[in-house]
Amino acid sequence: MSDFFELVNVDKSFGEHHVVKDVCISAKCGEVFSLLGPSGCGKTTILRIAGGFETPDSGSVWLDGKDVTALSPNKRKVNTVFQNYALFPHMTIWDNVAFGPRIAGMKEAEVKKQVGEMLEIVRMSAHADKRPDQISGGQKQRVAIVRALINYPKLLLLDEPLAALDLKLRQYMLLELDRIHDVFGTTFIYVTHDQNEAMSLSDHIAVMNDGRIEQVGTPAEIYENPATKFVASFIGDTNLFDATVSGIIDSEYMRVDIAGLGEFCAFNEHKFPAGSKITLSIRPERFRIFADKPSPMDRQNFIKGKIIDIIYQGAQTRYWVEVNGMRINVLQQHNRCYLDQKQPTWNDEIWIAWHRDDVTTLPKTRD
C-alpha cells in the first residue's frame, strides 16, 4: 500500500531559527504515527505544517495521493486536537461539536443526530449543555477529539493531547484514545514528548531531535535497535559507553574496549572493522547482579563493581553501580527467583553480568 500521508523534504525557519530540517515522514492509512521528541524540537511546527497553519519554506505535504502543500486549513480534510483543546468558550459543548458540520452546511436534523452519536461515543451526552469552563480537563479532551472527528477527516492531528492531564487521567485517556482510534479507524498523527504514550499507542514512531528525524520505526525497533545515541538515551533508560573495536572474533561478534572498564564481547550488528570508534548502549534491565564472581558463562560479560545507590521502585529495584569511577544503571525485576536471593545493599561489592547480544552498537558519528 502506498503511503497515505507524507512530508517530503520539509524545511522551515522562523527568521534565523531553523526549526524543521529536511524532514521526511510517511504514515500509512489508518495507523497511529507518533512524532516523539523533547520539547522545542519542532514537533508542533511539523503538525502545523500538516494542518496548513504554516507553509514550509521548501518541501511538500501529500495527503491521499494529492499535494496539499498550498491548501489552506479549512480546505484540507485534516482536523486537529490542539494542545490547549481550543474549545470555543462562548458555546456549549453541543455547539462546539456541531461547529464543523454546521460550517459544512449540514442539515440541522442530521447535525443533531451526529452530534448526539459523537457525544455518546465519548460519554459526554450528559454534559452537552455545559460550557467548556464547566467541565474537567479530561472531558474537554474528549470533546476536542470528537469535535475534530465528527468531520470525518482523513487525518487527525493530535498535539500533546494528554500533556495537561494528571497521571491517572493520562493513563485512562490513553486507553480512551486507543478505543476511539479503533472506532473511527482514522489515521492519527500523534505528537508527544512522552515515550510511554508514543510506545503504547503507535504503530510507528518518528523520533525527533533539534528539527531532524533521528529514526523512524515500530516501538520495538526503536527501543531494541536505536539508530543514534540520542534515540538510545531518549527512549527509555540506557547506559552509554564510548568504545573502540579492538578485535573481530567471527562474522557476528567483536571485542570492544570500553575506556576505563576493559575488554568485552559484543554483537557486531553493523560490521564495524577493528579500530572503529563506536558507542555502546546497554539497557539497565539487561544486567544481572551476582553476589560472587559468576563462573564463566556462555556469551556473558561480567565486571566487578560497588553498589552506591539503591532505589526501590515496587515492581523493581534500581541500583547505581560504580565501576572504576563510572556509574552504571542496573534494574532488577522483583521476580521470585530474584527475591529469594540475598538482597545486595549499599557498598556491597557485587558482580554485574550481561549477554553479548544485549549490547547495542551505535556508530559514533552524530551525538
Binding site: 494542518g51 479549512n74 482536523n79 490542539f82 464547566q134 468531520n151
Partner: protein
C-alpha cells in the same frame, strides 16, 4: 465567634477582632472614600438636577420656590421629539461607525509584535493630548469649503462640486467619530489582547473561512470589549453639544445644544434640568436593560462561569 471558641483560645487572641469582623471593617473602610466621593460629586448633583426639573423658573434666571410638572411635560412636545430622535440616530450612527473602525484596528494592534504595540497605542491616544475644542476648530479648517479635504476630494471627483462638508450633519458625524474613536479602540484592543487567537485557528481547522471564523469566534470572544466601546461612545455622543455647535449647521441641533442654550442663554435652569432628566433616562434605560439582561444570562451560565467572567474583568 461562638462563646466556646472564645474560652478555648488564649487570652491574647480573644482580643483580636474575628476574621469576619475584620473583613467587614476592611471592606467598608476601603470603599467608604469612593462611596463618599460618588455621593457628593455624583448622587447629590444628579438628585439636584432631578429636583430642579420639577421647580418653576424665576424671571431673574434663578430657581423658583414652587413645584411644577409643566416643564417636564413641555419637553415631550413635538419640537423636542424631533431633536430627540435626531440625537438618538446621530449617536447610533457615530457609535456604529466607531465600532466598525475600532474592531479591525483593535484586532490589528493586538496582532502586532510586542515591540510595536505600545507605539501604536501611543498613536491612538496622542490626539487626546490636545484640547478637545482646539481639535474641533482644526476640523473646521480641514472641512472648510476651501480646505484641503474638500478641494482634494472634489478635484479627484469623489464628491461633486456642490457638496459641502462643513456646517451640516456629515461634519457632525465625521468629527464625532474622530473624537470618540480612541475611546472605542482601547477597550476593543484590551479585549482582543485577552482573546485566545488559537481559537481562530481551531475554527479554520474545522472548516470555517477567515471571515466566518472572525464573525463566529472572534466577535463573540471580544463581546465585552465591544459592549464597553459601545457605551463609552454612545453615552457621550447622546450628550454632545460642542461638536454640533461648532461644525454643525442649522439642522444639527442636538439635545445637548438645547440644554446648553436653556441653561446659559435663556437662564432657564428648570427647563435645562428637565431636558437633562429626559436625556439621562434615555441613557439609563438601555443601560439598565443591558445590566439586567447580562444578569439573567449569568444566572443560567452557572456560578463558576460568573466568577470566571468577573475575575477576567
Amino acid at each position: 465567634m461562638n462563646p466556646a471558641d472564645t474560652t478555648a483560645k488564649p487570652s491574647s487572641l480573644t482580643h483580636a477582632p474575628s476574621p469576619i469582623g475584620r473583613g467587614k471593617f476592611c471592606e467598608v473602610s476601603l470603599t467608604l472614600p469612593s462611596l463618599l466621593w460618588l455621593l457628593f460629586f455624583f448622587a447629590v448633583p444628579a438628585a439636584m438636577v432631578f429636583a430642579i426639573a420639577f421647580k418653576t423658573a424665576d424671571s431673574s434666571g434663578g430657581i423658583g420656590s414652587s413645584w411644577t410638572l409643566e416643564t417636564i411635560v413641555e419637553v415631550f412636545n413635538f419640537n423636542y421629539a424631533r431633536i430627540m430622535w435626531r440625537t438618538v440616530w446621530v449617536s447610533f450612527a457615530v457609535t456604529a461607525i466607531c465600532l466598525l473602525l475600532a474592531v479591525p484596528v483593535g484586532y490589528w494592534i493586538s496582532r502586532q509584535d510586542k515591540k510595536y504595540k505600545n507605539w501604536l497605542l501611543l498613536l491612538v491616544v496622542i490626539p487626546l493630548w490636545t484640547n478637545f475644542l482646539i481639535r474641533i476648530f482644526a476640523w473646521r479648517l480641514l472641512l472648510h469649503p476651501d480646505g484641503i479635504i474638500r478641494t482634494a476630494l472634489v478635484s479627484i471627483g469623489i464628491i461633486p462640486e456642490d457638496v459641502f462638508l462643513l456646517n451640516n450633519m456629515t461634519a457632525v458625524i465625521i468629527v464625532s467619530v474622530y473624537t470618540h474613536l480612541s475611546f472605542a479602540i482601547l477597550p476593543i484592543y484590551a479585549a482582543s489582547e485577552r482573546f485566545d487567537f488559537s481559537l481562530l485557528e481551531a475554527a479554520r481547522d474545522l472548516g470555517a473561512g477567515r471571515f466566518r471564523a472572525f464573525c463566529l469566534i472572534y466577535l463573540p470572544g471580544i463581546k465585552r470589549g465591544i459592549i464597553t466601546a459601545f457605551l463609552i461612545v454612545f453615552i457621550p455622543a447622546l450628550g454632545s453639544y460642542a461638536i454640533p455647535d461648532l461644525v454643525g449647521g442649522i439642522d444639527c441641533e442636538l439635545l445637548g445644544n438645547k440644554i446648553a442654550f436653556r441653561a446659559m442663554a435663556n437662564r432657564n435652569l428648570p427647563e435645562a434640568a428637565a431636558i437633562s432628566v429626559v436625556l439621562a433616562c434615555m441613557i439609563a434605560i438601555p443601560f439598565i436593560a443591558f445590566v439586567f439582561g447580562g444578569g439573567r444570562k449569568r444566572a443560567d451560565g452557572g456560578a463558576r462561569a460568573e466568577t470566571e467572567a468577573i475575575s477576567r474583568q
